[in-house]
Symmetry: C2
Subunit: 338 residues, 2 copies
Amino acid sequence: MTFDKARIIVLASRPEGAPTADNFRLEERELPALGDGELLVRNVAMSVDPYMRGRMNDVKSYVPPFQIDEPLDGGAVGEVVESQADGFAAVDLVLHGLGWRDLAVVPAKGARKVEREIDGVEISPSTYLGVLGMPGITAYGGLLRTAEFKPGDAVFVSGAAGAVGSLVGQIAKLEGASRVIGSAGSPEKVERAKESGFDAAFNYKDGDVRRQLKDAAPDGIDVYFDNVGGDHLEAAISAMNLGGRIALCGAIAQYNSTEPPAAPRNLALMIGMRLTMRGFIQADFRDLVPEFQQKMARWIGSGEVTWDETVVEGLENAPQAFMDLLTGGNTGKMVVTV
Amino acid sequence: MTFDKARIIVLASRPEGAPTADNFRLEERELPALGDGELLVRNVAMSVDPYMRGRMNDVKSYVPPFQIDEPLDGGAVGEVVESQADGFAAVDLVLHGLGWRDLAVVPAKGARKVEREIDGVEISPSTYLGVLGMPGITAYGGLLRTAEFKPGDAVFVSGAAGAVGSLVGQIAKLEGASRVIGSAGSPEKVERAKESGFDAAFNYKDGDVRRQLKDAAPDGIDVYFDNVGGDHLEAAISAMNLGGRIALCGAIAQYNSTEPPAAPRNLALMIGMRLTMRGFIQADFRDLVPEFQQKMARWIGSGEVTWDETVVEGLENAPQAFMDLLTGGNTGKMVVTV
């Protein structure tokens, strides 16, 4: 078996609004020779994440934009085929940032070795793209640090059946929330949120978000973890108790939009209610990772945290998986097996 | 001289949009007999403040609404005529909450004795309604606590010629701001802001706030002290540096509005830039008052802090003073001498 070529997905053109198949192209590209401190990795699973939509626009953001005719990238887990770096050997499983391809030459400093089992429990590689990976630390840090969650808080989470939202709700319960309310976009997702431990959940397509939230949280909310923006944010502001906190994680409702987004018209309520709204990205929580991994491994081992994956097979189907993600075609973490 | 009747301004009807003279009525009312623990106070000066507009609506807010045919109230300074409370005597000057009238029976626990001079500098009574009073502590606490101001921060303040905004700018400079930018609504106010120490100021009526702010703050801003809401807030979000903080103090642009306010359409920028937006009211800063008064008295004594007052004479003119305040007819603190 030789590994001189990689199959790889490039950005063919920038999406206007919702991405289409035309925006992507599968190519074969030569692999560079393996240099010192590098690993040749055969990807097992790759992540598609909402934030990638932002990188497809040619605008300044917290990560640089993808370039046309150049490979996409993102989180992936793979097996080391060949190592020219200390501390890594063939067959090691590694988490790294060169997804959207089957084979990658990965700098060792951009790779982290991950375990195939924790405390005797087998861990599937894709877990490191979800509950034990970026969505997990996003949920954990966003809730505990950004939103300054305290035991007894009532917590509202949008995207409650998504990779991040589902974990926010479960972590909040495990950390002592008085009540956890979720919103999602289908009856099945609402059901799934309730099964996973949310005290209440509603389908935002069923009617006015503000009223549904008031019904689900008659005593108000102390924390809102925002994955969607738009009318959810306005509804949450109206439902907040004194001193409430909003963690802004994402605004998926707006990612495909070509219009300025609907904005909350009730920000002035933040004054009298002394609300705090704060944006964050998961890279802010690097220092929390060890604590998070320890806790989450325990919760997984005990079955206290459960999670869903929507698995799409085949690198060639990654663009479609990404498009489906943006329209809510996933429950839990969306991953592509390579 | 007898004091059995007070002249007092009552809310005749609730304003729709901008208040008009019809919403107010001057009445004579019997004074209740002075009880134990009470003071009879002859007001010298009373405050009109933007927050009072909110109390004229029949909606839940952080202070209860004014009632129709009942007296308005608010900050006032007066002279004790008669005291039935320990620690107070005739001729004492007191700050209390029963403005909008010439005479008031004030519970001693709602009154604070204030000095006619500090360190040999004569202090006019109205100072306690402004720089040494609520606007002062609002500026101080909002900047240092809510916006977590740090030396070296670049600060933007709207309403820069108002009672609060003018002090925010000066306090920021005294506490080590790298640059202080203000916006105001007339060339005279812009000039006044610059005189008082703002590094740059612009007239928001001259053009797009976003562009004027970018020109005035080419290296961005770290703190925005928001007195107006609306397009200023959107412009500030766009100009913010990583980790920037917004203190929401007021939204005067919206107080008279019968339409939902224009909302910032760029809240999603808060995510990647890790911005924090937080509402507050001055009552949150009670614990800061001693520290504030000590510093401010020193700054006043040394001439490092200057301030303007727009003084209107006569209780009967208080409604007009209030209406003018809401349309920017004041420079600095608007007070009514009684």
